[in-house]
């Protein structure tokens, strides 16, 4: 039983890291009022870039760094259109997703389906990794897993809720006109945190192609970016909740893998539907069941609305 639980949690932590990373980045962008629906495309292009860069350099860290840069660059293109030019955020996000999916398949053509020789391999941390159940899951894996669940959410939580800058960020997402009136640079904050969010999405792609799968193939992101966007809503735009939600959905996928490995009499495509159906249930049910939660978990008030100084 302990063995099974450890195995499930280990798989969940590994697979859920993709969703957690992407959701953390998206939470940042949405906190400052920008809905970035380009996550799926940015993850895809991050995954392809990471595979190419890791192969060329022989180091997964170079792959990760390249993916972070490409994710940030893609998000900068999105933010130029959606924040600087104030074009419709939904359209720009979809366009970024199309661009990312198309470009990644084009540049990744040469390495599609190849198993990657350089990947993030498990590096157990002494002492911590010998804690039962959670040790192997969070500290016995590659060196990205525990930062994703513990370090990054803590940093983002402190940034958002315990610094003056974080207060400004949230003000930009809730009431940009008021923030502008007291001298907060609304457009700059929106632009740069959208770019940082894109860097997270690129990193999530690298983590997928260098640690989880590990290989690049067209369509490998398969909706994980969209699930991450949904998880941000589900998490109430809070970093620890977002990371936890990623882990929860890692667990749903892990149960699917377990079913396939044990030969449950359910077809593989049906088991693969679980994360999507789970996400659907998790964003609808809380709203229906706990109406009081709606206010506490509500989206930033100015989410998705471009800011025009002249119409305040």
């Amino acid at each position: 039983m302990i063995m099974l639980l450890t195995g499930l949690l280990t798989t969940a932590a590994l697979a859920g890291g993709v969703l957690s990373l992407a959701a953390l980045g998206e939470a940042l962008a949405e906190r400052v009022g920008v809905t970035d629906l380009g996550v799926e495309g940015l993850m895809s292009i991050g995954a392809a870039t990471a595979a190419l860069a890791a192969l060329a350099s022989g180091s997964p860290w170079v792959g990760l760094l390249a993916a972070i840069c490409v994710g940030a660059a893609g998000a900068a293109a999105f933010a130029f259109a959606a924040v600087v030019m104030r074009a419709n955020q939904v359209l720009c996000g979809l366009a970024t997703t199309f661009l990312g999916l198309g470009l990644s398949a084009t540049i990744g053509h040469s390495v599609a389906g190849l198993p990657l020789p350089v990947t993030f391999t498990p590096t157990p941390i002494p002492l911590l990794s010998s804690i039962p159940v959670i040790g192997p899951a969070f500290f016995g894996q590659n060196l990205l897993v525990f930062p994703i669940y513990l370090v990054l959410p803590a940093l983002l939580h402190i940034l958002l809720f315990h610094t003056r800058h974080g207060l400004n960020m949230r003000a930009v997402g809730e009431n940009p006109a008021a923030a502008d009136a007291v001298g907060v640079p609304v457009q700059a904050i929106r632009f740069w945190y959208t770019v940082v969010g894109g860097a997270f999405a690129g990193a999530a792609g690298a983590y997928l192609s260098l640690a989880v799968i590990p290989s690049w193939s067209e369509g490998m992101v398969s909706g994980r970016g969209w699930i991450a966007v949904a998880l941000v809503i589900f998490s109430g735009y809070r970093p620890f909740n977002a990371a936890g939600a990623g882990l929860l959905f890692g667990l749903i996928s892990a149960i699917g893998f377990l079913g396939q490995a044990r030969g449950w009499p359910i077809a593989a495509p049906v088991l693969n539907m679980l994360p999507y159906l789970g996400t659907l249930a998790f964003i609808i049910l809380p709203v229906v069941l706990w109406k009081r939660m709606r206010r506490a978990m509500a989206a930033p008030a100015a989410l998705g609305a471009p800011y025009y100084r002249s119409v305040r």
Binding site: A81, T96, F98, T279, I284, V287
Partner: protein, 354 residues
């Protein structure tokens, strides 16, 4: 100095001008990238012209691409009229294909009876597929964007499972494909089937309903000004539900036309992004059901040009990247169309003072 001010409305001629500029910019970017990768852009351009509007095969292909695009584009357009986004056209397309294929595969009978039944089954399946996001939107205010989208992946897996599992082709053993469906929409011109004029007629019919009926008026008001609609006592919730179901039915009908008119089987991956491209078509059409037709033509031209690029050792998905680029530039252009030059404010103010 002339000042540019943002206006709440964008006049059609400005929108058209900015869009033409956006398309030229997109063509330039793609052309430069192709030239940098060592391809002769002018030879490619000639090939593209020949394989789209310059030959009979090209024109037939255009009509075949347009048929599903008009319907998925109309599906997104009707929801945008009430201020919603149905991003689930891809999934509803699959469900329409599943419904049509199920009837076509397992219901014997004369074609004249089976074909309408296939369409009805497709519409029922498409509506069933969008009902959960619809009710979540109407009664709990859950954003329909994510919920409709998530179901696309489920629908894709469901189609794949049916085509490789229970409904797989046991005769020829074709991969990820059901058996051949004998009931087909009759052909009209070459490989172009009656689904093409039918889809155009549906778009025109929707435009008439939206413009000239009380129902269409209430939908438009609910989208343009929800507060006013509620104050006037319009049944907003009922309109939202009806519009979403209509949208699901339209996308599903595209799936039925594709099964019964072009593919004649249920295949994994057969939606081929038509559902997502419907969003692009709807954006191009700017909420007008009639404008969906020229918008679908433009999208079909891009897809058809993509086939030429594939023969030039470019990945099939390069056309998706080009579509993304076009959509991004057009989104910027549509926003820029809101800006018009106004008389310099400073001079009038000083004029009053003097």
């Amino acid at each position: 100095m002339t000042r540019f001010q943002r206006f709440p409305t964008a006049p059609a001629r400005l929108v058209l001008a900015w869009r033409a500029a956006a398309l030229v910019a997109a063509a330039l970017i793609v052309g430069v990238l192709l030239a940098l990768s060592g391809r002769d852009v002018f030879v490619l351009g000639e090939l593209v012209l020949h394989s789209t509007v310059g030959s009979r095969f090209g024109l037939e292909d255009l009509a075949l691409f347009m048929t599903p695009l008009v319907l998925t584009g109309a599906a997104v357009t009707v929801t945008s009229r009430i201020g919603l986004w149905n991003i689930g056209g891809e999934g509803q397309f699959y469900l329409g294909a599943i419904g049509a294929a199920g009837v076509g595969l397992y219901l014997p009978g004369p074609q004249i009876v089976v074909l309408p039944l296939m369409a009805l089954a497709a519409i029922a399946c498409g509506m069933a597929w969008i009902i959960v996001p619809t009710l979540a939107r109407a009664y709990a205010g859950v954003s329909e964007i994510i919920t409709t989208l998530l179901l696309n992946f489920v629908a894709g897996l469901l189609t794949y499972w049916l085509a490789t599992g229970p409904w797989r082709d046991r005769v020829t053993g074709a991969l990820a494909s059901s058996g051949r469906i004998s009931d087909a929409i009759p052909e009209l011109w070459g490989v172009v089937h009656w689904g093409f004029p039918l889809s155009l007629a549906i778009a025109a019919g929707l435009a008439a309903i939206m413009t000239w009926t009380g129902w269409g008026y209430e939908v438009r008001v609910s989208g343009a000004n929800p507060g006013a609609a509620r104050y006037a006592g319009m049944p907003m919730r009922g309109r939202v539900i009806a519009v979403m179901l209509l949208s699901g039915a339209l996308a599903a009908l595209a799936g039925m036309f594709e099964v019964a008119g072009t593919v004649h089987r249920l295949q994994g991956g057969m939606a081929d992004n038509f559902g997502y491209l419907g969003i692009v078509v709807a954006v191009l059409a700017r909420r007008s059901c009639l404008a969906v037709i020229p918008a679908a033509l433009l999208m079909a031209l891009i897809l058809d040009a993509g086939i030429v690029l594939q023969t030039q050792q470019l990945a099939a998905t390069a056309v998706l990247a080009i579509t993304g680029l076009v959509l991004l530039l057009i989104a910027i252009g549509d926003e820029l169309a809101h800006y018009r030059p106004v008389a310099p404010a400073s001079s009038t103010r000083s004029g009053v003072a003097a």
